[in-house]
Amino acid sequence: MGAGHAHRLYRHGHSPVHGLPPHTKLAAALLFVVVVVSTPREAMWAFAVYAVLLAAVAHRARVPARFLLGRLLIEVPFVAFAVLMPFVAEGERVHVLGLSLSVNGLWGAWNVLAKGTLGVAASVLLAATTELRELLLGLQRLKLPPLLVQIASFMIRYGDVITDEMRRMRIARESRGFEAKGVRHWGVLAKSAGALFIRSYERGERVHLAMVSRGYAGSMPVIDEVTASGAQWRHALSLPCAALVVCLLGWML
């Protein structure tokens, strides 16, 4: 965790997907997920096509399947939730292997699993092919309020610094023989959290001082701009457009 640069998902590379401007990729990923979520759950084949589309993108981005599948693990808590659904949902029931399952719940579980997995896969691909700084530039370009982008950029810049401070505090606690074992030790941990807040806040004040010392007056000067050509937009949006066709077919068939 100490080495933990906030962006553990990024995979360095020079593929066509890596080379696309960040805001086109962000827009493509978001639109793709929107389309996926809007697809009727009964059109099971459509989700298979979406998966193939994502696999094609992953292939072009040269993101190995193992990496992608490994990152999908973040979804596990919701898999557990989805598994519960057939047991608790309402409506007519079917009996499989002696278990009484709700048809509606089965559909619901499928729905959450399919859409959730595709959503996570799309986010993972986006994060794997886009550098942090680029992501921020992309968000800025997509007209996210500048103040939010600044907050996010400070959070990322100092996330490491603060987790590192937290780690040092833990080491200091442990070297004095303290080990948090249960609820009794919450007081000590909370004191650490309090100290961490004070340090973070004071660092925020110092960073602010350093900023105003160099002429900051409330808005970040524009230093870098990202731009995308029409061809790049077409390239990036081919994914959600293909998905949209599938989705419309899913509604009609």
Partner: protein, 252 residues
Amino acid sequence: MVPVTASLEVSGLAFAYPDGHQALFGVDFSIARGERVALLGPNGAGKTTLVLHLNGILGGGTGTVTVAGLPVSKQHMAAIRQKVGIVFQDPDDQLFMPTVREDVAFGPAAAGIRGAALEERVHTALERVGMREFADRPPHHLSFGQRRRVAVATVLAMEPEILVLDEPSSNLDPASRRELADILRSLDVTVLMVTHDLPYALELCPRSLVLSEGVIAADGPTGALLSDEELMRAHRLELPFGFDPRSVTTGA
């Protein structure tokens, strides 16, 4: 006595923090253009508090600060902050942008410089601290010494009237320390160096001020101040073991 072109003039400065702790009790001194001056003092003497007054970050106490003839006040704040370049103690506080290049560009860009002129400033500033090839690296991937040099570059890019360094040698290994000293000597700006690293002060600054308990307790040639054992003891300033200021010849 004080020439009109003084880079920095401080008179009667007193200040207390919101929690009631008073740090400055009436500080007076003046620095002429082109001088390199060390501000010495033990921990808690009010050094950092004084620094924050120089570009108007702290204020609301009594007394005045004047930079190149311009009083530090709300009306001139933008000009003052361009003229006074402060290099803070922790480079992590100073380097807040995602890459070295953007960080160095921050100051001039905030002053409205754009395009090729901005590139030129960044280029020159990084060149002067020998960090040109690191322009596109994120600051947290640099070593501590490199980060400190970039921090100096971020301020140099603003072409300040006076460069103020807060504990420039802290946490540096001997090699980084010497490299930084070489860089500082090569600059032709007024320098106020706040430190309790006495050999470093002697090496770089012909003149020193001693700040103790919120007032200027002594002002004179660095070598003479460091040799005055009584003065040193009175203000909790201690030379490193085996270091004799009289035996050192300074190139400064």
